[in-house]
């Protein structure tokens, strides 16, 4: 069953100029028509380079940025259409883990108060499990005590789940190491018992040896609590490691989506292929033998994206027809195996895979063939 479904989501940021009063002179199309579906209990990995709109997409799901167009169906409700207050309440079910573990924790709050904030905001805790409604008038102080005790229990429980002791409660964020801070960030999300956690670059700010700790933690939490993740990262190896389904984004749109293994075994979109060939592997033998597709040039501006296929300006497989005129849709791969959910946004994906279309050596800056 799909927990989250995004239909043709668009997030356009106005570009404003003006001395006294701002005028809108254009739009940055950060997310420009993305549709995807996340199954309950699974991990959806969103990968792409900086400026591809993956972070904006994650924030748009939580309505932390304004949605320009499209639907975000969470358990059947359209989050994009909710009024501000209902959305605020709904956030208890969708939580977020941020990239910068220190920056995402208020330096003036101790850990206890950071973790309690969500519970207090949503009025969670108490003998009947809590809720937003006011407590019964009888025995209010009694009830209040029970609520506080229950909230404390939940906070300690969340801390222990992420591998920290209750000693941490009275300490401040700057007294912890990077990995511990990220654990606190995860605990803050967990304490609300959400259904979906959006992890925006959860490990990229951490030391290598700490990354694995956090990835393992996320994985074991998923197994214990049946969580659903949307993992947003630039590191394809990390995304492949944690995700069931991987979506590759380029310039505000999904270019390819497949199960983690299928994407690794048969990447079809030229961008996915070049991205994959660029990820370093810590093994000299693999590194020496690999074919590398070096892309020429840089990412075009999302304020003024290229016509047709957004990737055609850098694509080594670019063809005379269609590529620069017609924007390819994300469509199921033709002739894919039974039950495959592989989707790709390229007019010529199948021909490229079959080797019928050869890359233009001039457009790829160079395709470096391995020596081994």
């Amino acid at each position: 069953m799909s927990l989250l479904r995004i239909n043709d989501l668009k997030v356009h940021f106005p570009i404003r100029r003006g001395v006294v009063f701002d005028r809108t002179i254009g739009h940055v199309r950060a997310v420009d028509g993305v549709s995807l579906e996340i199954q309950e209990g699974q991990t959806y990995g969103l990968v792409g380079e900086s400026g591809c709109g993956k972070t904006t997409l994650g924030r748009a799901v939580l309505r932390l940025v304004d949605v320009t167009e499209g639907e975000v169906l969470f358990g059947g409700r359209d989050l994009a259409g909710l009024d501000a207050e209902s959305m605020r309440r709904e956030r208890r079910n969708l939580q977020m883990v941020f990239q910068d573990p220190l920056g995402s924790l208020n330096p003036r709050q101790n850990i206890g108060s950071i973790l309690l904030e969500g519970l207090q905001t949503h009025g969670i805790g108490g003998p009947d499990g809590g809720g937003d409604g006011p407590g019964a008038p009888a025995g209010r102080s009694e009830r209040r005590k029970l609520v506080l005790e229950d909230q404390h229990r939940r906070v300690v429980d969340a801390l222990e789940r992420v591998g920290l002791s209750s000693k941490a409660l009275t300490r401040y964020p700057h007294e912890f190491s990077g990995g511990q801070r990220q654990r606190i960030g995860i605990a803050r999300a967990l304490v609300l018992e959400p259904d979906l956690i959006i992890c925006d670059e959860p490990v990229s700010a951490l030391d290598v040896s700490i990354q694995a700790q956090v990835l393992n933690l996320l994985e074991s939490l998923q197994q214990e609590l049946g969580l659903t993740y949307l993992v947003i990262a630039h590191d394809l190896a990390v995304v492949r490691h944690v995700s069931d389904v991987v979506g590759v984004m380029y310039l505000g749109a999904l270019v390819e989506e497949a199960s983690s293994d299928e994407l690794y075994e048969t990447p079809m979109h030229p961008y996915t292929r070049s991205l994959m060939s660029a990820v370093p592997v810590p093994d000299p033998e693999v590194e020496d033998a690999r074919e590398r597709i070096l892309l020429s040039g840089d990412l075009p501006s999302p304020a003024n994206p290229p016509s047709g296929c957004r990737f055609h300006t850098r694509c080594p497989w670019r063809q005379e027809e269609l590529c620069d005129t017609e924007r390819p849709e994300l469509r199921p791969v033709r002739g894919a195996a039974e039950g495959s959910t592989h989707r790709v946004a390229c007019h010529y994906a199948e021909q490229i895979l079959a080797g019928e279309i050869r890359p233009d050596e001039k457009l790829a800056e160079r395709i470096v063939h391995g020596v081994g």
């Binding site: 956030r91 990239q99 208020n106 003036r108």
Partner: protein
């Protein structure tokens, strides 16, 4: 020379089979030794907030200590002035010893530590009582500036960060008004206010305070906007915290640091500005309440014959202002996140 694994491992294998005794003992010994080497790394206890660490750093800074000593002495003198001053500041008990027209003045002596002024009043007593006036002007003026400025700037900043489209418009309007205020020279503004209300101590305090409003407003707004773009604010929004609570418990406390530092520095400028206004004759005309700026103005006429009459209040103003400035700068340094470990 490292022990060879072959000679060491069999014993370890034995340990493993003999669960309990020796293995646990060795493991415990290893853990103990490690804990010992790690020393105090695992210090438990309460965490320290930013202000506490900043205070600890300031205690080691000679700049902060100097500033604090000056400020404490000044405040103590100001508060206890009736007890410290040996004579009444208005008593012309020695009026027959001073003849300004004939350039006859009385310098420091055992009876009058700083000598007599042009009307034969005890200069030391006047200085001590003047400290109280100066402190009051400085504090009230700063509070006026801080209060009004923080209100305007805080509202503009919060609106800009959390208010969406309308918030940004509100911020725009408020800030343009502030810019207009900033365009007026402090002293001119103060003179205008004084001219409208008439010369009095209240005039000076309001005038100096109003002149500080744009500084505080801009500072707090800037700090709030930069804090508002930080990830922890986004995290609070993601958590579902209400906007008002985000503004009051997350953004505002983190933005106050620079504003508090600025208010220390403003105290120094307020004292100088107040002295300047008094010097221009806009201050309290009542001789019963000597003020350092007024004293300086009065002494001007006798600058050639009795320069000490000008030197004392001038020096007092400079040292006091320096004290507040040193303290403010030390606080700014101690709170600077770049210098924090």
């Amino acid at each position: 020379m490292p022990t060879t694994p072959s000679s060491q491992n069999p014993s370890r294998a034995e340990d493993a089979s003999d669960a309990g005794g020796p293995l646990l003992g060795r493991k415990a010994a290893r853990v103990d030794r490690l804990a010992e080497l790690m020393g105090e790394r695992d210090e438990s206890g309460h965490g320290s907030g930013i202000w506490r660490t900043a205070f600890a750093r300031m205690r080691r800074s000679p700049m902060a200590i100097t500033g604090a000593v000056i400020v404490v002495v000044f405040v103590a003198v100001a508060l206890l002035s009736p007890l410290i001053a040996p004579y009444s500041p208005t008593s012309q008990a020695w009026g027959d010893e001073v003849f300004p027209n004939q350039n006859i003045f009385v310098g420091p002596r055992g009876e009058n530590w700083l000598g007599l002024d042009n009307l034969g009043r005890d200069q030391f007593s006047r200085m001590v009582v003047g400290a109280r006036q100066t402190l009051m002007v400085g504090v009230v003026a700063t509070l006026v500036g801080f209060g009004a400025g923080a209100l305007l700037g805080g509202a503009a900043g919060a609106a800009s960060v959390l208010g969406g489209r309308w918030g940004r418009q509100l911020d725009n309007v408020v800030m343009r008004v502030i810019d207009m205020m900033l365009a007026l020279p402090t002293l001119l503004l103060a003179v205008t206010v004084a001219a409208l209300v008439g010369p009095s101590l209240t005039t000076v305090m309001i005038a100096v305070g109003v002149a500080q409003v744009p500084v505080f407003a801009r500072l707090l707004r800037g700090a709030m906007i930069s804090q508002g773009n930080r990830d922890y604010v986004l995290a609070a929004r993601a958590l579902g915290v209400r906007k008002r609570r985000i503004a009051l418990t997350h953004i505002l406390p983190n933005s106050l640091g620079p504003v508090i530092v600025q208010s220390t520095l403003t105290l120094a400028t307020a004292i100088i500005d107040a002295a300047a206004l008094s010097y221009l004759g806009l201050g309290n005309p009542d001789p019963a309440f000597p003020e350092w700026g007024t004293m300086l103005a009065d002494a001007q006429r006798f600058l050639s014959s009795a320069p000490q009459l000008a030197v004392y209040p001038a020096l007092a103003i400079i040292v006091t202002a320096l004290g507040f400035t040193l303290l403010g700068e030390a606080m700014r340094e101690a709170l600077d996140p770049k210098l924090r470990k």
